[in-house]
């Protein structure tokens, strides 16, 4: 399934994220130059319509740098740790990301 959405500058990760929010399952996607391809033959018409609408909404937002997004996620895990075990795990993820 392919969509052409003017002004869509997000990456395929964002598309898969949107699809998952709509369908509740992972949908492999590709995105480039405003063309979005969904690699899932099992999508219903309702799901496809809802995804298209969500993609059009997302096209109005600025894309987030994936590295910044990942840094934010890792730091949130460190800040949100409430036990030593959680903190150890969060720091280990940061160290792994810095490799």
């Amino acid at each position: 399934m392919e969509f052409e959405i003017d002004g869509f500058r997000h990456d395929a990760g964002k598309v898969s994220e949107i699809c998952e929010a709509v369908t509740g399952r992972f949908v492999a996607a590709s995105a480039g130059g405003g063309t979005i391809r969904l690699h899932d033959d099992g999508l219903t018409k309702e799901e496809a319509d809802a995804i298209r609408k969500a993609l059009e909404e997302a096209a109005k937002e600025e894309p987030v740098d994936p590295r910044q997004k990942r840094r934010d996620t890792l730091l949130a895990a460190v800040r949100g740790a409430t036990t030593v075990a959680q903190l150890r795990e969060a720091v280990a993820a940061v160290v792994e990301a810095m490799r």
Binding site: D11, A12, G13, V15, S16, A28, A29, S30, A31, G32, G33, T35, R37, H39, P66, R67, R70, E96, A97, R99
Partner: protein, 160 residues
């Protein structure tokens, strides 16, 4: 198409006949000229970032060239491009294809910033016809997004 004949070695003082000159000089020259003229080079560039979360190899948008050969040929395909992954734990894989046929070997890369990559494939004994050479990409594993950009792809056909 003119057939090739192993060139005759003339001895000192020997006078070549018309038939010999036609076979060894005219036809062999024509044979070489036909192949030289049928050599083809096509190239294309793409500078729009294409991204994927698919674990199945799929064509990078607009990263392709179409090649029409008039003789059986050996084809060399070269692609250079920039690629990165959103998470180095989950690398990207890249491969050249002729239509739906995979060529060469799969290349893996796991840099989180764009880095240059080159792929080369040798497509042997290809019958005359029209073919499309494409660059494919995919991600490895359950997470990550693969980014491919600035693709240059060249195919050179050498008649055999």
């Amino acid at each position: 198409m003119t057939d090739w004949t192993a060139p005759k070695t003339f001895v000192a003082g020997e006078v070549g006949t018309a038939a010999e000159m036609n076979t060894h000089l005219r036809d062999n020259t024509l044979h070489l000229k036909e192949r030289f003229s049928a050599a083809i080079r096509v190239g294309a560039t793409m500078d729009t970032e294409d991204t994927t979360t698919s674990t199945s190899l799929e064509a990078v948008l607009n990263a392709q060239v179409s090649l029409t050969t008039t003789m059986t040929s050996d084809v060399v395909v070269v692609a250079s491009f920039n690629a990165k992954t959103s998470d180095h734990t989950y690398p990207g894989i890249f491969r050249l294809y002729r239509d739906s046929t995979a060529l060469g070997s799969i290349l893996t890369d796991a840099e989180e910033v764009y880095s240059p990559i080159a792929l080369v494939a040798h497509d042997n004994d290809l019958a005359a016809g029209t073919y499309v050479y494409k660059l494919y990409h995919a991600r490895v594993g359950a997470m990550g997004t693969i980014y491919t950009d600035q693709v240059s792809i060249v195919a050179i056909a050498m008649p055999i």
